[in-house]
Amino acid sequence: MAEQIALEVTRFSPERDKTPSVQSFDVPLRKEWVVLDALNYVKDKVDGSLSFRWSCRMGVCGSCGMMVNGEPKLTCATFLTDYAPGPVRVEPLKNFPVMRDLIVEITDFLEKLSKVKPWLIREKEKAPSEGEYLQSPEQLETFRQFSMCINCLLCYAACPVYGLDPLFAGPAALALAQRYNMDSRDEGKSERLDILSQHDGIWGCTFVGDCTQVCPKHVDPAGAIQQYKLTATQEWVKSLLMPWGGK
C-alpha cells in the first residue's frame, strides 16, 4: 500500500481572504484511518490553524459533516483507503455559508428546526402523579426511523432545492416535524400543518430523493416529506368537504 495520500483541503480565513483557496497536505495512508483522522493529523503535525468541527468520531453527534470528493459525508465514517491513490478533496458542507476553512454557518437550519415545533405538543400535560404516557412498540415503530436524525445536515448539502431556495425548510426539519406528528403522545398535528403546508415547507420539495441517499442514519427524510404531502392533502380535502369541522 502507498505510504501517503494527498488531502486537498479548502482554506478560508475571513479576516484575510476574499475567497476560499485549496491547500494540499500529504497524510499517511493508514488502513484504519478515516478522513477525520487525516484532518486531525494535519492539525496536530502540519498546520494547527486548520479549522473543522468534530466530536464523537463515531457517527452519532453529527458534527463532522463535510464534502469529500463532492459527496456529503461524515468524515469520521469515511475511510481514506476508499479514495486511494487519491487525492482526496475535502470541502465545507455545501449550501451553507462558510465561516472558516471547513466550518459552516448552520444558524439557518436551527431556526427552521425550531419553526416546525420539534417537541410534544399537548393540550393538557399529564401530571407526573398520573403516571407515564404509555406507548406500544408498534406506536414507537411509526416514528422511530425519523427520530434517528443526528442533525448532521448532509441532507441539506445534498438537497438542490435548499441550495436554490434558502427559504426552503429542508429535509431534516421536515423529517423531525413528522417524527413528532407520528408520535402517539403528540397532539400538535394541526398546529404543525399550518406551518408546514406552505410553499417553503413541504411543497417546495420536488422529491429529488438525494437527501435519503446521503443520510448516514437511514432516516429517509424524502419518504417523511412525501408521506406528509399525502397527509396534508387529505386534510385539505377534508377541509373542503367539511369546512365546519373543528381543527
Binding site: 478560508f12 475571513p14 455559508p97 454557518e105 436551527l110 408498534e138 415503530e141 429529488v208 408521506q227 399525502l230
Partner: protein, 135 residues
C-alpha cells in the same frame, strides 16, 4: 438572525450554478425524470392532432397516418417513448416512499406497493392493445 455580537461573520456563499444538475448522476437522473413531463405533454398534443383528424374524416385520418411515418416524427416518438417509460418506472418505484402502509406493526415492503402497479400497467396496456387491434 440569531443574537450575534456586533461583528457577525457573514460567511462566504457561492451561488448555485445553473448547471448544478450536471454535477452528479443522481441530480441528472432527477432532471431527466422531470423533463419526461415535456414528452408527456407532446403525447397529448399528438393525441389532439389525431382527434382533430378523426373529426375531419377518413382522408384526414390517412394524412395523419402519413404524418406519423415521417422519420423525424418517428425519431421524436422513440425518444418520447423512452422518457414516458422512464416516467412510469420511476413513478411506480417512488410510490412506496409516499405511502407508509403498516400491517401488524411492521411496514409493508415497497415491492407490495410497487408490484401491483406494474401488474396494473401490464393489464391496462394489454386491454388497450386488444381494443385497438381487435375492437
Amino acid at each position: 438572525m440569531a443574537t450575534y455580537t456586533s461583528y457577525p461573520p457573514k460567511g462566504y456563499r457561492v451561488r448555485m450554478s445553473t448547471y448544478w444538475w450536471l454535477g452528479r448522476w443522481p441530480y441528472l437522473k432527477f432532471i431527466l425524470r422531470e423533463i419526461s413531463s415535456v414528452f408527456v405533454a407532446w403525447f397529448v398534443i399528438e393525441t389532439l392532432l389525431q382527434i382533430n383528424a378523426l373529426i375531419d374524416g377518413p382522408e384526414a385520418w390517412l394524412e395523419m397516418q402519413d404524418f406519423f411515418t415521417n422519420p423525424i416524427v418517428i425519431a421524436l416518438n422513440v425518444i418520447s417513448l423512452f422518457f414516458v417509460v422512464f416516467h412510469a418506472i420511476t413513478w411506480f418505484n417512488l410510490a412506496p416512499k409516499a405511502m407508509a402502509v403498516r400491517l401488524g406493526g411492521r411496514r409493508l415492503p415497497g415491492i407490495f406497493i410497487a408490484g401491483p402497479q406494474y401488474v396494473a400497467w401490464v393489464i391496462v396496456s394489454a386491454a388497450v392493445a386488444w381494443l385497438l387491434l381487435h375492437g
